[in-house]
């Protein structure tokens, strides 16, 4: 009897819901932290950019499959190698009513060059911007740049009049001050969602923008975002039904989500590649018992390391089958990826021992690996697993795991790359291999801003030359051939030890459909609630 009444009630509720045309659909989700600022130019970081992408838009955008499509631009052309003509979309309005036009584009580009901006690098890809008419702009790049529009997808457009009216014509500065403060706490973009309430670290409420120019598939009318720092609390809130989606979910909690009713884990490959890097340039390793020489300078030792790592075991045991073992520094979603080069080094500890003996270290040696413990999925565990595997060929690895703030302070350029062996993860912001060539595979060069994240300073003049050419080659086939060639050299010389692409790890309530983008961005445009 009771169940019958319940059913009746359910049917009645459904009928009422179906009858009312204006269904309020509220979507509640949580991430482990909050955005630092609502200012779209203040921090160039994936979560912030993805979050703000619901409110602000750029000239181009990425689809759910990370394909580049026009957004606020209607189309673009590249008539001369260093000149771009961009046609803008007409009839687009900012959320507070302002019209979108060429002035806003040029204004936003200039704002990205202001002092507090973290987008200077991206804005610097354009040397000069000119207004041709209200809906056409011309951009001049310092050198030919085939992937300009890939980069522009992250340069959000603000309303010039609104910014000037609220004295936020310059980016919010970390130093504080009046300038820019308004955009730090308020947003006015052209995107499908409007921020109506913002309490940093507590709650952010989004309302659907009824005047949005596009036609996204989402049916949500309201979004409530709450950062929840503790993973256990986040998972509990999902299971108890207080939230519709959470990320990240710790890998060890997947089973719990599978068992619990009404929720499920959602996982897919992320475009982030996790790899180990080695100091192959210093004459003596900073953290090793071998004095007077650097064993990692010898390609045979690096090869020995490569063949000693059992990626399959890391995939199965550490990552519980959720990662994608890799042989390249770029993921399949990244432009320039090559399937042929992605085969991992074979697991062959006997070969490793032979190579070590040939190089003059038959009994191995000692080395310390630097490792973050709260940055990537199971980062510390990967280091420990790798240490165990290297122990089998006689290399004694001490794992030095620290929180990311301390880890990066130690290994980055500001501290003179104070490491001998380390774990790092990388997603190219532009989704293009050139970014990887510049940051990870070029020789360190402060003036040219090359090899900034090449902590071990693996250096090969041929790759440097190829990197330069890739940067300005506009023919896709020729460009791909050059990228392949550079990656092949890096692979033969064991510049790095790629481990895997880490898994995306989200948890959703049944009845929520969402596209899980490989760059770990949650785009509300793709969320459909049942």
């Amino acid at each position: 009897m009771k169940t019958f009444t319940k059913r009746l009630l359910a049917v009645a509720t459904l009928a009422i819901l179906a009858a009312s045309p204006l269904q309020a659909k509220t979507f509640k989700w949580a991430f482990q932290g909050d955005v630092q600022s609502l200012d779209p130019h203040a921090l160039n970081e994936t979560f912030t950019m993805g979050f703000m992408g619901n409110v602000y838009e750029a000239l181009s955008a990425y689809t759910d499959d990370l394909e580049l499509v026009p957004a606020l631009a209607e189309s673009w052309s590249n008539p001369e190698p260093s000149k771009w003509i961009i046609k803008l979309r007409k009839g687009v309005k900012f959320q507070e009513g302002g019209d979108f036009n060429a002035d806003d584009v040029i204004f936003s580009w200039k704002r990205c060059l202001s002092e507090g901006s973290d987008m200077k690098g991206r804005a610097g890809l354009i040397k000069e911007m000119k207004k041709i008419d209200d809906y056409t702009v011309e951009a001049i790049t310092p050198s030919p740049n085939p992937i300009l529009m890939q980069e522009m997808a992250w340069l959000y457009i603000m309303d010039k009049e609104w910014s000037i009216e609220h004295k936020t014509a310059e980016t919010t500065n970390v130093k504080g001050g009046e300038e820019g403060n308004y955009a730090n706490m308020h947003a006015n973009g052209t995107g499908p969602f409007i921020i109506t309430d913002r309490q940093p670290d507590v709650k952010t409420i989004f309302k659907r923008n009824e005047n949005y120019w596009g036609n996204p598939k989402t049916n949500i009318t309201e979004g409530i975002f709450t950062p929840v720092k503790q993973a256990a609390t986040r998972v509990a809130a999902l299971i108890s039904g207080e939230l519709d989606l959470i990320y990240p979910v710790p890998v060890q909690d997947w089973k719990r989500l599978e068992k619990a009713s009404g929720v499920k884990p959602l996982s897919g490959p992320e475009a982030r590649t996790i790899f180990l890097g080695m100091d192959s340039s210093r004459d003596e390793l900073l953290y090793s018992n071998i004095k007077g020489k650097n064993p990692l300078k010898d390609v045979r030792v690096r090869k020995a390391f490569a063949h000693a790592l059992n990626l399959e075991a890391i995939h199965k045991k550490v990552m519980r089958g959720a990662s994608t073992p890799a042989g390249l520094l770029v993921a399949p979603q990244v432009n320039g990826f090559s399937e042929a080069l992605n085969t991992p080094y074979s697991y062959d500890p006997e070969l490793s021992k032979k190579l070590l003996a040939e190089a003059g270290y038959p009994d191995g040696f000692e080395i310390t690996i630097d490792c973050p413990n709260n940055r990537y999925v199971n980062d510390e565990k990967i280091c420990q697993a790798a240490a165990g595997m290297l122990a089998k060929i006689g290399v004694k690895v001490e794992v030095f795991a620290q929180p990311k703030s301390k880890y990066f302070a130690k290994v980055l350029a500001q501290n003179n790359y104070d490491t001998s062996f380390y774990l790092l993860g990388w997603t190219p912001g532009s989704m293009d291999s050139h970014n990887v060539l510049i940051n990870l595979l070029s020789c360190q060069n402060k003036e040219k801003k090359m090899g900034t994240f090449n902590f071990g300073n693996y250096c090969n003049a041929e790759i440097d030359a190829l990197t330069d050419k890739v940067g300005s080659e506009t023919n896709p086939a020729k460009r791909q051939a050059m990228i392949d060639k550079a990656f092949k050299i890096a692979k033969d010389e064991v510049a790095y030890l790629p481990i895997h692409q880490q898994p995306l790890s989200w948890g959703v309530r049944d009845g929520v459909s969402v596209s899980q983008r490989a760059d770990n961005v949650l785009d509300l445009r793709s969320v459909v609630l049942q």
Binding site: N44, V174, T226, S240, P403, K406, A413, Q414, N415, K446
Partner: protein
Amino acid sequence: MVMLAVAFIAFSLFRYVGNPINNMVGQDTSIAEREEIRKQLGLDDPFFVQFGNFVIDAVHGEFGSSYRHRRPVSDLLAERLPATLELSFFSGMIALFIGIPMGIYTALNRKSVLSKIFMTLSLIGVSLPTFLIGILFILFFGVILQWLPTFGRGEVVQVGWWSTGLLTISGWKALIMPAVTLALFQMTLIMRLVRAEMLEVLQTDFIKFARARGLPTRSVHFRHALKNTLVPVITITGLQFGSIIAFAIITESVFQWPGMGLLFIQAIHEVDIPVMAAYLVMIALFFVVINLIVDILYFFVDPRLRVDRAAV
């Protein structure tokens, strides 16, 4: 003086927490730009210059801007203070109003079954870490029974600059679990303290005389014995209230309670030095003020102190 010392110790520790700049910029930001920001923020200055600047600004009530939020630290603390104070106040109340009666009961009825249950429970309360208790509560009341929300503060109402969760049902519901979690340790501590003091006082001569004079048991217990146990209880409770505020950090992070403790934890993760410094100095201030209040309270509870004072 205490606060100056706290600030000094805090500052000497900050150099070991990591480099804040890397959390403030994206991966594509060049080294030169990172160094530029570092210089602008004065992080390259010698230790004593940094410390001196901090103290001078702090005296003027100026704590600088948070690196992470890009807003004045004083605004952030003011925003978060109500949440922490409401939570601390209620868990203090729970600890007192349940802890003291439990203590009296167990002292007077030492042999009863209920006393033994109380004592066993108090052992659990003292020995289980707050973090675990919080998670167990969430699992039981939040996930399995679904009676109470698992995180956050519920709906809050803004009264002037004070945001309160006490005017909404969801606010009260959200308060229960964190407040009890935070109160548990203090409650068992107060209970055991009251019990021990009470037992001691009951052995003293003046209680025996009171009994001999034929005063009613009730009056002996509550008028004479209890009053004399209160001095140490007040001291401890006062100090514990300070530590409730300070140690709300763990409870706040388990329940995602948007108070100062959570702000502090996040500041540590992101190496947000101005927030860390201001928070520590503020907690030091709390302790100083609470100690002062406790000292003043003595005069009201213990007449002997008043006599001494008068004699001097």
